[in-house]
């Protein structure tokens, strides 16, 4: 309590709980600063480099902004699908009735991760039509495993006595799930969410092969035509997007972390 009061000064931008979080976890402030510095370095590098005809095709603001936009769409959409499927699935798999399906489902999720990404992507494109939808769907299939596994593990790790006490106190199994189990599993689940977000940002670079757009539109031509600036720009921007999403996820993790359990 004392720390909160100490921190509460007049005219402060952040709420007391926000300031508490940032004080407790310095790196949450450092990360955005680093992101901005790297972005600044990249912009300086581009500014100082005279572009030849090939580089000018991709290194221009309209092209890059479209690539970033598409990349964010691909990453967020696949991440959203993954989270919407994997977390409920993970919760269901730890219920007593579904326990016998757990190994099979985890096996399927494992297999999804092991598939050769570009091959599946292109075959799906040929069968179902190239473009963002098939890209998003395929990326989602690749990313299901980390969150599914983390959700299952997060829930399985909860001391069964805690749940027993909850039931003993008069909670129904459903109340115990929502009030005790899920809040306790949140840190592990959110760690899985962060992993998946980074994964989808990386995988979204494959969008270039199936008319999905994304930062791969810089990386692949840069690679094939041996133009460092194009390759570097695409790569660095992908890293920046990944770190930004990671930072946002960490903020969410801090704010969603239950207190006092």
């Amino acid at each position: 309590m004392a720390t909160v009061n100490k921190g509460a000064t007049k005219g402060s931008l952040l709420s007391p709980s926000a300031r508490l979080i940032f004080r407790r976890n310095r790196s949450l402030l450092v990360q955005p600063v680093l992101i901005v510095i790297v972005l600044g370095l990249l912009l300086t590098y581009i500014g100082n480099h005279k572009l030849d005809k090939i580089e000018a095709v991709t290194i221009n603001w309209p092209f890059i902004s479209q690539a970033i936009k598409d990349h964010l769409i691909l990453s967020f959409a696949s991440a959203a699908i993954i989270i919407a499927i994997a977390i409920p699935a993970g919760i269901l798999l730890t219920r007593p009735k579904a326990k016998k399906f757990t190994p099979l489902v985890l096996l399927l999720a494992n297999v999804g991760q092991a598939f050769p990404a570009i091959g599946i992507l292109i075959i799906s494109g040929i069968l179902f039509g190239f473009g963002k939808p098939i890209a998003i769907f395929t990326f989602a299939a690749f990313g299901i495993l980390p969150i599914l596994r983390n959700t299952v593990v997060g829930l399985q790790e909860i001391d069964p006595f805690v749940i027993e006490s909850a039931i003993g106190m008069g909670m129904t199994p459903r109340q115990a799930l929502w009030k005790i189990e899920i809040p306790l599993a949140v840190p592990v689940i959110l760690a899985g969410v962060r992993t998946t977000l980074i994964l989808t940002v990386g995988v979204a670079t494959f969008g270039v092969f199936v008319n999905g757009g994304g930062l791969g539109m810089l990386i692949i031509p840069g690679l094939k035509l041996n133009r460092q600036i194009v390759l570097l720009t695409g790569g660095m921007l992908t890293v920046i997007v990944a770190f930004t999403m990671d930072w946002l996820a960490r903020l969410a993790e801090e704010f969603l972390r239950p207190r006092g359990i």
Binding site: K53, I54, V57, T58, I118, I122, G125, I126, G129, F130, G131, V208, F209, V210, N211, G213, G216, M217, I220, P221, L223, K224, L225, N226, R227, V230
Partner: protein, 310 residues
Amino acid sequence: MQAKRIKVAAVAAALGLALVTTGAMAPVANAASKTSLKGVSVIVGSKDFTESIVLSKIVKQFILANGGKVTDKTNIKGSATTREAMVKGSINLYWEYTGTAWLVYQKQTDVSLAPTALYTKVVAGDKAAKVTWLPMTSFNDTYAFAITKANAAKYGIKTYSDLVTKMPADARTWCVESEFASRPDGFVGFKAKYNVPASDVIKTLDTGAIYAATQNGQCGIGEVFATDGRIGALGLTVPAEDISYFPAYNAAITTTDAIAKKYPQLIKALSPLSSKISNAVMQNLNARVDVLGEDADSVAKSWLAGAGLI
């Protein structure tokens, strides 16, 4: 127990020996017939599409059959990357195209030169880069645009200009791959030359996916390679290039001056190869890999054997 262990060891040794001899048999058998390239040890590279890989496998199998040693580093992503690898010494030779060298490495702009004249200029231009060119093929694997035979008949398309004037806008989706979209001899210039409307839909796909996507209707017009086996196999056709835009792209083995100096016998042995590879031959070899799914090394080897070259 002792007897069983000896038995197991004996079986393992026999298996091991069998594996080693089977692996060693091929070059040994050929070395008996030809050893003109013994002592030659080179790293063979190639770009990342079937034709480039098959051409390099032909060189590889030829050298192996003649007693030489080859390290296979084919399937490198991107033209410029492969060229850079050779200049820097990570690979020793690969097949390059005259048009590509002219426009992309030598940064020239004149696309009106006939194949032989272009070849002469390219060879001269690469002296500064210390790159040696062996004789070129007669086939011209130029960038091309393909449409289905059905569409060609339906809209009466005979030339590239017809694509813009006779195909309705909603059928005119262009599918290109990302390298072509960025190259100076690529889509940007083509669009300008042929007045392709800015409103036309352009999709970026993987090189290989374009063929299937054009055939099943997802692309109205697909960017392809002229000697690809899939054009014929998938019922596609290439209209005529009525306004000259693409330069000639004849293929030739390129290597560094250093390697040419080190292995003059290799240069002499490889030089006659390109004249044996016609348009029809190249398309056929490409089709065997892309359509029939054969392995590039075995296609190369069987072709060389059939042509009496090994």
